[in-house]
Every structure is written in C-alpha cells, then in structure tokens.
C-alpha cells in the first residue's frame, strides 16, 4: 500500500496537468527504508514528449547524489500518461529499475490541463512483474 499526504498528491497531479499533453515525471524521496514519501522533486522530462519520458541525465545524477547525501531513496517514481490509462506500459515495465519504489501513474487523458479528477494509481514493478497497490491519501504522514 502507498500512503501519501494530500499536499504531495496534489503536487503530483498539478505537475501532470501543467505538463499535459507531454508526460510529466518526478520522484518523491524519503529516508532510506522508511517508505515515507516526504520530499517532492519535480523533474524535467528531457524527452519533452506526449508518449515518452526520461529524466535528463545530468539532473538524474544530481538527484541521486542529493539523495545519497541525505540518506534518502526514491520512495515514489511518478509519471503521467496523457492519452492512455494510468497503467504501466510495456516500456515502463521494461525500464523500471527501482524495485523498492512505488511507481505512481497519473492519467490526464480526461481533463488535460483543466480542473477535474485524474486517475492516480500505484504499482510495484519488480523483475517485470506489475502489482497494483492501494493508495491511501492522508492529511499528513503519521509522525515517526
């Protein structure tokens, strides 16, 4: 199960809506082993594409160095689909390389840049196996 606070949830949705029709992407980092998505990091989609996303390679290195220095890991890796459902594509599955992360998919296909509900779903992707999990949105993450 993914437990996420409302503000982070809203930030992911806002990013996806803003970048529509291109795919938006980013991570939410958290302390190693905590499973707490605490630090929202919006990334640039270097592919700038409605059908593909890729973190810029320099930004990617910077992000991992920061997380390393903070003893963090990517708790959530998110991206949007802009014309299809919020389910990992074959490419998403083939390239998923964070077995410990929650892969969040947001679909903006219904309302695009406008207000309105989006599909927001979360998965584990391990060795090519996709397992959907429940998403629980809370006002604030429970204190440690």
């Amino acid at each position: 199960m993914l437990t996420i606070d409302q503000a982070t949830y809203d930030a992911i949705v806002a990013h996806a809506k803003r970048d529509h029709p291109d795919e938006a992407c980013g991570v939410v980092a958290g302390p190693e082993g905590s499973d707490r998505p605490e630090r929202f990091v919006e990334m640039v989609n270097a592919a700038g594409s409605p059908t593909f996303y890729e973190f810029d390679s320099t930004d990617l290195l910077q992000l991992y160095k920061e997380m390393d220095a903070n003893d963090e890991e990517p708790v959530i890796v998110y991206h949007s689909h802009t014309a299809t459902e919020a389910y990992p594509s074959r490419t998403d599955i083939g390239l998923a390389s964070e077995p410990g992360a929650h892969y969040v998919l947001v679909s903006t296909r219904e309302h695009g840049n406008n207000d309105g509900p989006v599909e927001f779903r979360s998965y584990r992707i391990i060795d090519g196996e996709v397992t959907e999990e429940e998403v629980t949105v809370v006002d604030a993450l429970p204190s440690n």
């Binding site: 890729e54 890991e73 689909h81 594509s89 390389s97």
Partner: protein, 91 residues
C-alpha cells in the same frame, strides 16, 4: 590504479549488496571488463551489442560518458564512476 564505481540498487545483486566497488582500467571499457571478472554478469547489464545500453547512464567524475568518448572514455587513478539506470518510460 583504483577507481571507485558506485553501483545502483538494481545491480547490487552482482556485488553482494555493495553500493560501491573498486575497479581498475585505463578506459571505461577496460574497467567494465575488470568489473565483470570480479562480479560476473554485470557486463551484460551495462553493454549491449558492443555499446553502452541506451538506458544505462555512466558518469566519470560527474560527466556523462556519452559526451567524453563512451566506452573509450579514459580513466585515471582516483576517478569516480557512477552507474545509474535511466528513469524513463512511455505509454
């Protein structure tokens, strides 16, 4: 010659869980062969058809090797190499 190589989570199965290992080589290509000798199987995860895999990023002292010669990138004692899988996908 000692070169520190940072290993991403997904490849730590080849390094016994180690986040960083030490390798040796005057070029990235030689370094990867040296890693393979000590961590069999890792080379195939980095190289495909004689070139770096499209969705694996390798950095030498913070430079993406694609801009400094790819597998031919020169290495010297004390360099730091970081391997990071691309975070990418598409619908």
């Amino acid at each position: 010659m000692a070169i520190e190589v940072r290993i991403p989570t997904i490849l730590r199965t080849y390094t016994g869980g180690e986040k960083a290992v030490t390798g040796d080589g005057a070029s990235l290509s030689a370094l990867i062969d040296d890693l393979e000798a000590n961590h069999p199987g890792i080379k195939d995860r980095l190289i495909e058809n004689g070139d770096l895999r499209r969705f694996v990023n390798v950095y030498v002292n913070d430079e993406d090797v694609r801009f400094i010669g790819g597998l031919g990138a020169e290495l010297s004692d004390g360099d730091q190499v970081v391997v990071l899988p691309a975070v990418a996908g598409g619908q």
